[in-house]
Every structure is written in structure tokens, then in C-alpha cells.
Assembly symmetry: C2
């Protein structure tokens, strides 16, 4: 079961190409030819490594999931509440900035009703959010931050940070700036700091 040198190289190429193509065109808009071309392989050769288009997509998505949730996992119950939450906002924004393709990939999947990762959403994701939301609400109950619904707060952070990347055409059009993230960090810090201070 150990992968040959060539296997390793080509699977890496395919993953990179698939991320590029799927994030730009969505699942239905992506074609095997496009992925193969981007990866520098022929279509039958691509299918030699992955049995189907769906398999490529699925493996790509699930492989990125844990990475995508890292910032939230890092939210520390023992830390200083406001700094922890604002730090999470900042890390999530930075992650979106550095991984725009991944962000769009997930946005697309979610928008379509999450046909592939629905189980993950109701399982691991639900649990992680429940855990961290409890931490946040604990802080609120202890009076360290203003009262707030933890789950709603976390979802707000997702919605806002990802918006700058997923809807970057719109953001650029509205602001007139070339960089959609210009001003984002400052605004989000203001917005969430005020929310946490009540």
C-alpha cells in the first residue's frame, strides 16, 4: 500500500489542480479535462489515480476540513476571553486571505446543500462548535464579556471573514479598492470588540 515516487508526485499535482479547478468552477462546472490539463496529465491518466470526478472532489474536501477548522480548535478556554475571540477572528480572516480557493470550495459545497460533507457538519463540526460556544458562554456568564449566543457569534465570524474572499468581486466593486481585504481586519475588530464589550 505504500505509494511510489511517481504516485506521490502525481497525486500532489492532482490535488493542487483539482483545488484550482473546482474552486473556480464548482463541482458541476469543473471537467476532468480541465483538471487533467492543469495537472499536466492526460484524462485517462487522471482516472488511473482516482476512479471518478466525485472521488477527487470528495478526497479534496475531506482532506482540507481539519485544516479549515484549526483556528477555532485553537480557541483556548484558559486564555483571556476578549483576546481569544478577537484572535480567532483575526486568524480566521488570515486563513481566508491565504487560502481563498479553499474558502470558495467550501462556500460552493455549502451553497449546494453540502451533498458530500453534510455528515461532517452534523457530526464533528456540530460538536466542535458546541464545545467552543459553551466556552464563550461560560465567559459571558462569568461577566468577562457581554452576554452573547456562542453559536451565533461563531457563525457570525465565519460569515464575515469568508465574505471578503468568497464575494470579493462584490467587495471590490463596492469599495472601489483592488484589495478586498483592505480595511477588513480593522472593521471586524471594531465590530466584534464592541459586541463583546456590550
Amino acid at each position: 500500500m505504500t505509494m511510489s515516487r511517481i504516485q506521490k508526485r502525481n497525486r500532489a499535482r492532482i490535488a493542487e489542480a483539482a483545488l484550482e479547478v473546482f474552486s473556480r468552477n464548482g463541482f458541476r462546472g469543473a471537467t476532468l479535462d480541465a483538471i487533467a490539463g492543469e495537472a499536466g496529465l492526460s484524462k485517462p491518466n487522471l482516472i488511473y489515480y482516482y476512479p471518478s470526478k466525485e472521488t477527487i472532489y470528495e478526497e479534496l474536501l475531506t482532506g482540507l476540513l481539519s485544516r479549515w477548522l484549526e483556528p477555532l480548535t485553537a480557541l483556548d478556554p484558559a486564555g483571556e476571553p476578549e483576546a481569544e475571540i478577537l484572535g480567532y477572528v483575526s486568524r480566521k480572516l488570515e486563513l481566508s486571505r491565504q487560502m481563498p480557493r479553499e474558502s470558495r470550495l467550501f462556500a460552493n459545497e455549502i451553497l449546494r446543500g453540502a451533498p458530500l460533507i453534510a455528515p461532517h457538519l452534523t457530526g464533528p463540526l456540530h460538536r466542535l462548535v458546541a464545545e467552543k460556544a459553551a466556552v464563550i458562554e461560560g465567559w459571558a456568564a462569568a461577566g468577562h464579556i457581554a452576554p452573547v449566543d456562542g453559536r451565533q457569534l461563531i457563525m457570525s465570524i465565519w460569515a464575515l471573514t469568508q465574505h471578503y474572499v468568497d464575494a470579493d468581486v462584490q467587495v471590490r466593486a463596492v469599495t472601489g479598492l483592488a484589495d478586498p481585504l483592505a480595511g477588513a481586519a480593522a472593521h471586524l475588530e471594531t465590530l466584534f470588540r464592541r459586541t463583546l464589550r456590550g
Copy 2:
């Protein structure tokens, strides 16, 4: 140029069917057969009314644009600042609740880079936002609300209100509730009220 009785009826049916199909499957995922079926017409008959799939999509999108921006248009410079902005949040959320298909349609278009409505974004939308952002910043300068970037505030409102509908699978999975909008109104009011009060 006046439309016959049959034309009016069938064009209305097509618009409704197209909204249904495009919003559920995106532009690429939608098929003429699906739209025709949903509208109760044959495919050639559908194409008798609209010359191409793109035309249907384009007319649908542009026809809904003004409707979609109504709540922002209604933001009144002469009103009470906090009430005006919170009222806008509430109206936008209500609009998303009542028009989830339209919301997804736009989300899809934006996510794909707005190939069709980009001109509208940089034109009318940019101007409308600039105008309303100036109003908000005027209120801030006068000390009626806490200092805030008007454009960023407006975009925040979009991102958050639409998230509940566009990402409803995720919201439902995380909250565990059947209604993705449960708690949304209260949370958003809290979040934005605190933001406006500094």
C-alpha cells in the same frame, strides 16, 4: 410589442421555473429540460420565448436586482440613526427569509465572479452604497452613532443576513434547529446595536 395573453402567462411561468431551477442548481447545473419541465412547457417551446439559457438567466437576474436593493434604498437620512440602521438589518433579514431562492441565485452569481452583473456592481450598486455609507458616516461624525466605516457596515449586514439563508445547511447543522433563522434576528440586533453604540 404588446404581449399576448399567452405570452404573459408563459413568461411568468418561465421566470418562476427559472428562479427555482437556477437557484437550486446554479447556472451550470441548471438544464433547459429542467426549466421547461418545471414551467410545464416543452424545451423547444421554452426556447421560443427566450433564445438561450443565458438570456433566461440574465433577464431573471437583472429583473430581480432592484427588488433586492429596496431595503437599502429605504434607509432614510432624515430618520433616527440607530433605528434606521437596525431597521435596515431587520428588513434585509426578512427579505432573505421571504426570498431564499433569490438570495441563493445572487450568491451563486457572486461566487462565480459575477460574470453577468459585474457592470451593475461597479455602477448602480457602487453609487447606492456610496450614498448610504455617506449618510451613515454623517451620523457618526455628528456623534449620533459610534464611529464606523459605512461601506464596511453595509457589507457586514449583507454578509450576515444572507448567510442564514445561503448557508442554511450549515446553520441548521451547527444549531441543531430546524429553522436556520431562529435566533438570527435577536443576535443580529444585539451585534449591530452594540456596534453602533460603541
